[in-house]
Amino acid sequence: MAVDPTPHATRRTGPLVRFWDRVARAVITAGGVGVLAAMLGICVFLFASAAPLFASGSGRPVAEVNAAQPSLADALLIERGVREGSILVLARDGVLREIALIDGRTLASLDLRLEGEAPTAATLETASGRVTLLFPGERLETAEIEQVDLLLDPELAARRWGGLEVGRRAPLDDASRRQLGEALHLTRDLTEQATVVRRSEGTWAIADLRRNSLDTTTLHVLGELAPEIHAAAKSDRERFLVGRTSDGGVWFAQSRRVTRLGGGGASERVTAGAIEFEPPEGAGMPLGAFITIDGPGVLVVWADGRFQRYDASAGVREPIHLIESGRVIDEGRHVTLARMGLGSRTLLVGDDAGVLSAWLLVDDPKSKAADGRRLAPAHRYDIGEGSITSIGLGPRDRTVAIGTANGAVELRNVTSGKRVARFESDGRRIAHAVLAPAIDGVVAIDQKGGVRAWAVEPGHPEATWSTLFGRVLYEGYQRPRWVYQSTGSPGVEPKLSLTPLVWGTLKATALAMLIATPIAVLGAIFSSEFLHPRARRSVKPTIELMASLPSVVLGFVAAMLVAPFVRDWLPTILVAFGVVPVVVMGCAHAWRLLPRDFGRRSISRRPLVLVILALALALGLSVLAGPLLERTLFAPGQGETGPASIRRWLDGAYGGAFPGWLVVLMAPAAVLVMVVNARFVSRVWSERMARTPRLTAGGLELGRFMFSTGLSLLLAAAGAGLITWLGYDTRDSVFGPFSQRNTLVVGLVMGFAVIPIIYTISDDAMRSVPDSLRSASLGAGATKWQTAVRVVLPVAGSGIFSACMIGLGRAVGETMIVLMATGNTPEMDLNIFSGFRTLAANIAVELPEAPRGATHYRVLFLCGLVLFLMTMVINTLAELVRQSYRRRSAAL
């Protein structure tokens, strides 16, 4: 709008302009509100995705079979089936039956008798279908049980079995068995017991059980075998078997299996081993004997709470022998049930007071056992009144179903301690508690053979605050630790502690900021206060161009070029961190010694050239000094062999702690000397200098600088000597074994990535300081440096701080550089030469494999939420600090 030349003639704003004004206001408001809403939406979405992790499970009854089946109460074996809603029962008559829970009817059956004799003991590993059977006469059979479940063509099935009720089964006659076998391309024929089951209105299926015998052997153990057996697989190839004899002894055997991919299938050989059994006096019949895969070893537990551990690490080559004995329960109480957990590393012990405890093998230097290990209590849960009578193992995690004498069934995760669900029934003793394949159901069979089933919504049994953030004692680990290893299988539970990831994020960010901030801020001071505007106009866009490099390219460069470079030039790079500042400052002092005309002309016209020359000199010196330092300071001492190398020193192959502490303490010592200088010496010194001729003053100044450098070195050496004498070593903390994909590499490259952001915003902040302030300062006689540091920097402080915070935010969320340049190793240490895994990289790596809605999937969303909260906290803090800065500079 043109300004009206006549002051008193008023002209109103036109309606069109007002309209557009309103439109603009509406659009901007909508945009602002939209941004806020989107932020809030993301936050709510992340929260909603992660929150179910912390909810507990629930359940409801689904079936109750009133006609009690006494055969169930004294069954040899009851395990969950592969199909939903069915259990596998091996009764005393030697027939394995698959029983539908809905009506207690048999879906399929399989005769497991050997030469007409029923087995006396059996164990079944549901995941692999491996079954081990004991027969009279010390005969032992290992086999694989296959559950066949084939869908039938609905049209064909409807014609033949249309009259069948839903949930019912019909036997197969010979003709239809043959016909179906051909139609379904079965590699092996259906068994005699195969049946057709009508699953729902439109689906029919064949249910069948098959046995593939692997080996039959006679054990020749003295004494009749007792009806229990425990088997555990060390690997797919090697399994161990243990059981009791009826006179209170224990037998032990090992099976080996060979798998031929070229046909011929698998075969197995079972060999009995000898045992030097030394039961404690008066203990009587053991309650149970179990294989522990840790070692491996054999655990024998007695009802009075005593246990013994036998070393079986030599397998059957040598007799297994006693190495540890102790108690799993206080004297006076009784163990009612002992069972090995899934994966055969945890011993679960239930007692007559309703307490379930879990025991693990851990390393203990004080242990008297030959292998230096000890059976230690890991978890203890009070299940409530009534002794524990049954423990059913979960199919894939450490959730167990615990049945008590009072008829209660509780589902609890042994590792996290989370109670998934609890059901009470009519008070009859629970003889068997069985968990469904997806922990979505639990079946309890009481002492009379009554069956009760509940549907369970398990939630996320492995996730609690303590497993996600705290230290947990996991199987196979010696101490409670923060572990992240998300992939689980029935043998290994997933470990989901986010602490190592948060730690990795902080570690990478801290190092990157430590490298980037000084360079970027000093660069900004230089370009805004000292550089000629013409040079600045070309320097600034160049640095900003650095920011446009995609981080994936930087990550690639880091992994392929920087990592091997750091490995080969490690001494030089370490030395450069000290040499470059010292040499550059030394050069600045030396410049004062140059003739006035020469100095002034060159420095004011081409400061950049001089700086580059100084840097080149510094780098050259580093290249020379690096290997020199490696050969002298990091040399092997007397009696130590091998070439001198920092990497070998880092690995702890030789040498003491002194050099490490010297390097670490250098920076603090230098800062200390600088502070002392500035506080106590500078004023007096500058007053003296004012009266000294320029050249002499320059020389003295250089001398003072060199003296300060030397003093810092001496201080650092003294400190290093003291700490070394106290017995601490840097190699336990900031230094440690060198890994090629390490934090230093990421720090350098991520530093490179954030430098442009910090630089450019800091530079703008300082340029926006009014020139009047500079002129006033310079006019009052301050030097350019004094003006920059004492006047411009404080005024631009809030802007520079924002710059650093934006850089920090970028570093925290940076994904590709970290993903490519590290090995994504979730380690937790201070070592700058080891790898790490960040929250962001973890999400990128693992999201494609996580099934929707699973615990792992939700944990990844929790990672996102934690990352979001971290950046939010950083930004909020930054904003608060910035506000206070601004208030201060506004008052200026």
């Binding site: 592969v82 995941a127 479940d149 084939l150 869908l151 063509d153 609905p154 379904l184 391309h185 590699t187 689906t203 060390k234 690997s235 797919d236 190839r237 031929r260 991919l261 070229g262 046909g263 895969i293 894939r396 394949p437 997806a438 996991y474 196979g476 572990v483 992240y484 290893q485 992939t487 299988s489 043998g491 290994v492 990592a563 091997p564 490995r567 062999t641 091998g642 070439p643 070998r648 690995d651 192959a653 030789y654 074994p737 890994s739 090629q740 994909r741 993903l819 590290t822 090995g823 994504n824 190793t825 380690e827 937790m828 790898g835 790596v845 693992e846 494609p848 494999e849 099934p851 929707r852």
Partner: protein
């Protein structure tokens, strides 16, 4: 475009590395004969170990059927089952068998199980740098090196006495957790114990080999097909004292090499409707002599004719 050039270079390198294709092939495998030309879109999602193999099949198949469009996505075996269930892929190449939960999820949606097809034989090799003096290892030593059951190990702990090696820690490389190789190695080689936190995770099998090639003190595992001249595959034995065997078809078939496995391709095969023409034709190609030649070219090992026939029967071919 750039991606394609990269892939071609990679394939070339792998093809050069493999040897004598003829001797390993079962002479009874039939040649591929085109029955009817097929067209349409086919998408495979799954194993990274098998990416080169599937690409080789795809290229050769396209020569015969130019109208067929095939996309290969490979981020790890664990990405296969979800894609199969969501219907985003017709085939899921996997370097491990499906877990019971994955099968259950599939069954929940379709009412039947996914069909597993064994398409090739593979050995997982334990690689060291070509300059490494170590020649053989037992599985129990492998478990000590890679799993938390063992302490941090140096090369001296494995019996390497050369100076410059004896006191150096072993730098470990492995696959990311989506990989079937990761799971197989954890289950079989590490006796189901957790990996050490210091095992560096490479997103692909080639990345493991590259890491080992660039890091002289490294040890890593991946499929034998990814071997380059810069790395050496160790001979493996089951236990200390047992004879060690180098990875190869012969030792895989006899069961002597401890880390031999099948490579699989899963598909959604509904018996009631049979396979569509495109998938049928593709599988016919995979199980033919030509398809198995590609397996050899990739560095894995071909199937015996008997197994190929068995697998064809599973899908009614």
């Amino acid at each position: 475009m750039k991606m394609r050039v990269c892939a071609a270079v990679l394939l070339g390198a792998v093809a050069l590395g493999a040897g004598q294709p003829e001797s390993m092939l079962d002479p009874e495998l039939p040649r591929y004969e085109k029955t009817t030309p097929v067209a349409g879109d086919l998408r495979t999602v799954g194993s990274d170990t098998m990416v080169n193999l599937v690409s080789l099949w795809t290229q050769a198949f396209k020569k015969q059927h130019p109208a067929a469009r095939i996309q290969v996505e490979a981020k790890g075996s664990s990405t296969g089952p979800p894609a199969l269930i969501e219907g985003q892929a017709q085939f899921a190449p996997m370097s491990r068998a499906m877990e019971p939960e994955e099968i259950a999820l599939f069954e929940e949606k379709f009412g039947y199980k996914p069909t597993q097809l064994r398409v090739a034989i593979d050995c997982i090799a334990v690689f060291v740098n070509k300059d490494c003096p170590l020649e053989e290892l037992s599985l129990s030593e492998v478990a000590q090196v890679f799993s938390v059951d063992g302490p941090t190990m140096t090369w001296g702990d494995l019996g390497v006495e050369e100076t410059g090696w004896r006191d150096r820690p072993i730098s470990l490389y492995g696959r990311n957790s989506a990989s079937g190789t990761y799971k197989f190695f954890k289950d079989v080689a590490c006796s189901k114990a957790d990996y050490k936190a210091s095992v560096k995770e490479a997103p692909g099998s080639a990345g493991v080999v590259q890491g080992v090639a660039k890091d002289p003190y490294a040890m890593g595992y991946s499929g034998i097909g990814f071997k380059t001249p810069d790395v050496k595959a160790l001979k493996l034995s089951f236990g200390p004292g047992d004879e060690a065997f180098e990875p190869g078809l012969e030792h895989a078939l006899t069961g002597d090499y401890p880390l031999a496995r099948f490579l699989y391709m899963y598909t959604n095969y509904d018996r009631r409707h049979g396979l569509d023409a495109l998938r049928a034709e593709f599988l016919r190609f995979v199980f033919s002599r030509d398809g198995q030649e590609a397996v050899v070219k990739d560095g894995a090992y071909p199937l015996p004719a008997s197994i190929a026939e068995e697998e064809m029967q599973k899908v009614g071919l």
